[in-house]
C-alpha cells in the first residue's frame, strides 16, 4: 500500500477531497425522508389522520360504550339522527346505527385490506414473472389474466362465490381473485419498461441473478404505481364486498356490514334516509382517506420528488 501516493492522486483527481473534513453526519435515510415529505403534504396528512381515527374507532369497538349492534328493539325503529340514547338514530329493526356503523366498519375495512393484499401479492408476482421472462410465461400468464378480465367482474365474483358457497371469507377470496389481473397488468407494464433499462444490464454485468434483479431492482421501481393502485383499490374492494353483501352473497344479516346496511336501508330511504346515507357516507370517507394516503405515499416514496 502506498497511502501517501494515493492521497496525492485523490487531490489531483478531485480537488474537493482536500477540503473534506472528518467523517460527517450521515444523511437522512430513505424512510426518514419519506416521513418528512408526508408531514409537509397537507392533503395526505388529512388522509392519514382520518384513516388513523377510523382504525382506532374500529379497533376500540369492543371497549367503547356501544350498544349491541344486533339487538333488536322494535319499539324504537327508524329513529332519526340525534335521538337521545341513539346518537345516529336506529334502523328499521331499532338497532343502534352508531354501533352498527363501527362494528360494520371493522368487517368492511378488514375485507378491503385483506382482499387487496391477496390480489396485490398474486398480481405482483404474476406480473413480474410475465414481464421479466416474457415469451412462454408472458403468454400463459397474461392470456389467463385476459380470460379473468373478459368476464364482468360481478358475474365472475358471483360465480366464484357460487362455487365456494356464500359467506364473508369466500366473498373476500372472490373479490381478490377478480382483482388480480388489475395488479398483474400494472406490474407487467412497469416491468417491461424497467427490464430494458441500462441499470438492469449493468446489474447483470456485475453478476446479479435474475431473481435478485426482479426482487431488488425491478420491484421497487414498480412500487409507486402499485401503491396508488392499491390504495384506490381498498375502497373499490370495500364497495365490491359491500355489493356482494348487498346481493346477499357476502356478510349475512344480522351481522353488521356496510354493504348489508346499505341494502337493508334502501327500502326505507324515503322515511329514514339516514339508514342508507350513513353507511354510504362512511364508505365515502374511508375511501377518500385511503386515496389521500395513497397519493401522499406515492409522492413520499418517489426519491425524485422534492
Amino acid at each position: 500500500m502506498k497511502p501517501q501516493l494515493q492521497n496525492e492522486q485523490e487531490k489531483v483527481l478531485n480537488p474537493t477531497v482536500v477540503m473534506e473534513g472528518k467523517r460527517g453526519k450521515r444523511a437522512d435515510g430513505p424512510w426518514k425522508i419519506a416521513c418528512k415529505k408526508i408531514i409537509r403534504d397537507k392533503a395526505s396528512m388529512v388522509g392519514f389522520v382520518l384513516l388513523f381515527l377510523f382504525l382506532c374507532l374500529f379497533l376500540l369497538a369492543p371497549v367503547l360504550p356501544l350498544q349491541n349492534p344486533v339487538e333488536v328493539n322494535l319499539a324504537k325503529r327508524l329513529q332519526p339522527i340525534g335521538t337521545p340514547g341513539n346518537m345516529l338514530g336506529t334502523d328499521h329493526l331499532g338497532r343502534d346505527m352508531l354501533s352498527r356503523l363501527i362494528w360494520g366498519g371493522r368487517v368492511s375495512v378488514v375485507i378491503g385490506f385483506i382482499a387487496v393484499g391477496i390480489a396485490l401479492v398474486f398480481g405482483t408476482i404474476l406480473g413480474l414473472v410475465a414481464g421479466y421472462f416474457q415469451r412462454f410465461f408472458d403468454t400463459v400468464i397474461m392470456r389467463f389474466m385476459d380470460i379473468l378480465m373478459a368476464f364482468p367482474y360481478v358475474l365472475l365474483a358471483i360465480a366464484i362465490i357460487a362455487a365456494l358457497g356464500p359467506g364473508l371469507l369466500n366473498t373476500m377470496i372472490a373479490v381478490s381473485i377478480v382483482g388480480i389481473p388489475y395488479y398483474a397488468r400494472i406490474v407487467r407494464s412497469s416491468t417491461l419498461m424497467y427490464r430494458n433499462m441500462e441499470f438492469v444490464l449493468a446489474q447483470r454485468a456485475l453478476g446479479a441473478g435474475h431473481w435478485h434483479i426482479i426482487v431488488r431492482h425491478i420491484f421497487p421501481n414498480c412500487l409507486p404505481p402499485l401503491i396508488v393502485a392499491a390504495s384506490l383499490d381498498v375502497g373499490w374492494m370495500i364497495l365490491a364486498a359491500s355489493g356482494m353483501s348487498f346481493l346477499g352473497l357476502g356478510a349475512q344479516p344480522p351481522l353488521a356490514e356496510w354493504g348489508v346496511m346499505l341494502s337493508e336501508g334502501q327500502k326505507y330511504i324515503r322515511v329514514a334516509p339516514h339508514e342508507s346515507l350513513l353507511p354510504g357516507l362512511a364508505i365515502f370517507l374511508v375511501v377518500l382517506s385511503l386515496n389521500l394516503v395513497g397519493d401522499g405515499l406515492r409522492d413520499a416514496l418517489d426519491p425524485k420528488s422534492k
Binding site: 483527481l13 460527517g24 430513505p30 449493468a202 454485468a205 456485475l206 453478476g207 446479479a208 426519491p303
Partner: protein
C-alpha cells in the same frame, strides 16, 4: 505471457425475420493481463455486441454465438457455460461499465445500497458494515468527495461524471481482472471525460486490471490505450500497437477515421469524411466489407474477402493492399 482473454473466430448471429444473420464474424483478439486494448469503430460496427458476448449478456431470444467461436478467459471457455457459472465471473472476474451513467444506476435505490448489495453478492461472508467500509474507501479512490454522505443519496442527486465514477467504483470493488468499458466517456463533458480516463488509467495501474476500452473517439484511444483494434461492419480491419495505428495506419478505413478528425494546426475548410455509412448485416458485401466505401477498391475487393496480413510484428490489417499477391 498467456493472454487473459482470448477470443477466436467469434461470430455472432442475430435473428431477423426468423433467420439468423451473421453480424460480427471472424473476430479474433486477445487481452493481456494489465494492458489496455482499445476497440474503435463507427456506430454499428459490432463493438458493443462483441463485449456483451464476452459477458454472456446477449439477448438470448434473438441472438446467438456460432459453434466455432471460442472465448477463453484465463484458460476457461466462456461459450455455452451456464448462467450460474457466468454469474460468478461477472463482476468478480470481468466487470463492465456502460455508456450512459444516467441510466445505469437504479433510480429508486441509494448508492450505498446498490454497492453493498453488489459486494455481498460476491462475498456473502462480509457483514454490511464491512462492505460499507470497502465502498467508502473505493468511492474515495475514484475521487468522490464526502463518500460517507453519498452512500445515502440517490442517483438523481448526482451529476453524470459522479455517477460514472460510482459505476467505476462499483465495477472495481470486487477486484476484477478485466474491465470492459463500453464508451465510458461518450455521455460526459469533455473536461469530465479527461478526468474519467485519467481515473481509469490510474486505477488500472493500482489494481493491475486489464481494460477493454470501447470507443468511437480516437482521441480517447490515443490517450490511454496500449494496443488498438479497429472494427468495421463486424470484422476486425486493423490491429496493432497504439503508436502503429496512429503513425502508420494501413487500412483505408483507419486512415479515413484518422483523417476525419479536425486538426487545430491546419486550417482546412472541409473535413475528409468517409463517404457512405456502415451497411446493415443483411447488406454486407460478399468481398471486403469496406469495399463500397473504399477509395482503393478493385474488382477483387468486391469478390473475395481479404485475410489478415501482417505489416510488422504486432500490426495486422485486413486489406488486399497488403497481401503478397496485391490488389489485382
Amino acid at each position: 505471457m498467456s493472454a487473459l482473454l482470448q477470443v477466436e473466430d467469434l461470430e455472432i448471429l442475430f435473428k431477423k425475420k426468423k433467420e439468423y444473420v451473421s453480424t460480427v464474424s471472424g473476430v479474433t483478439f486477445h487481452v493481456n493481463p494489465g494492458e489496455t486494448l482499445g476497440i474503435v469503430g463507427e456506430s454499428g460496427c459490432g463493438k458493443s455486441v462483441t463485449s456483451l458476448s464476452i459477458m454472456g449478456l446477449l439477448p438470448d431470444n434473438y441472438s446467438r454465438i456460432s459453434e466455432q467461436s471460442t472465448i477463453q478467459y484465463n484458460g476457461r471457455s466462456l461459450v455455452g457455460i451456464s448462467e450460474r457459472e457466468f454469474r460468478n465471473i461477472r463482476g468478480k472476474e470481468i466487470a463492465m461499465i456502460f455508456q450512459d451513467p444516467m441510466s445505469s444506476l437504479n433510480p429508486v435505490l441509494t448508492i450505498g445500497y446498490q454497492m453493498v448489495e453488489m459486494i455481498r453478492a460476491h462475498e456473502p461472508q462480509l457483514s454490511k458494515k464491512a462492505a460499507e467500509e470497502i465502498i467508502i474507501s473505493m468511492l474515495k479512490k475514484v475521487g468522490i468527495p464526502r463518500a460517507e454522505k453519498i452512500i445515502d443519496e440517490y442517483p438523481h442527486q448526482l451529476s453524470g461524471g459522479m455517477r460514472q465514477r460510482i459505476m467505476i467504483a462499483m465495477a472495481l470493488s470486487c477486484n476484477p481482472k478485466l474491465l470492459i468499458a463500453d464508451e465510458p466517456t461518450t455521455a460526459l463533458d469533455v473536461t469530465i471525460q479527461a478526468q474519467i480516463l485519467e481515473l481509469i488509467k490510474s486505477l488500472q495501474q493500482e489494481f493491475n486490471t486489464a481494460v477493454m476500452l470501447i470507443t468511437h473517439d480516437l482521441a480517447v484511444v490515443a490517450e490511454v490505450c496500449d494496443r488498438v483494434m479497429v472494427m468495421y461492419a463486424g470484422t476486425v480491419v486493423e490491429e496493432g500497437q497504439a503508436a502503429d495505428i496512429f503513425n502508420e495506419a494501413k487500412h483505408p478505413y483507419t486512415i479515413g477515421l484518422l483523417n476525419s478528425i479536425p486538426s487545430l494546426e491546419e486550417n482546412i475548410s472541409r473535413l475528409d469524411a468517409i463517404p457512405g455509412s456502415v451497411p446493415s448485416p443483411e447488406e454486407f458485401p460478399s468481398g471486403c466489407r469496406f469495399a463500397p466505401r473504399c477509395p482503393h477498391a478493385t474488382e477483387k475487393c468486391y469478390n473475395q474477402p481479404p485475410d489478415h496480413y501482417q505489416i510488422s510484428d504486432h500490426h495486422f490489417a485486413r486489406c488486399w493492399l497488403y497481401s503478397k499477391e496485391g490488389v489485382n
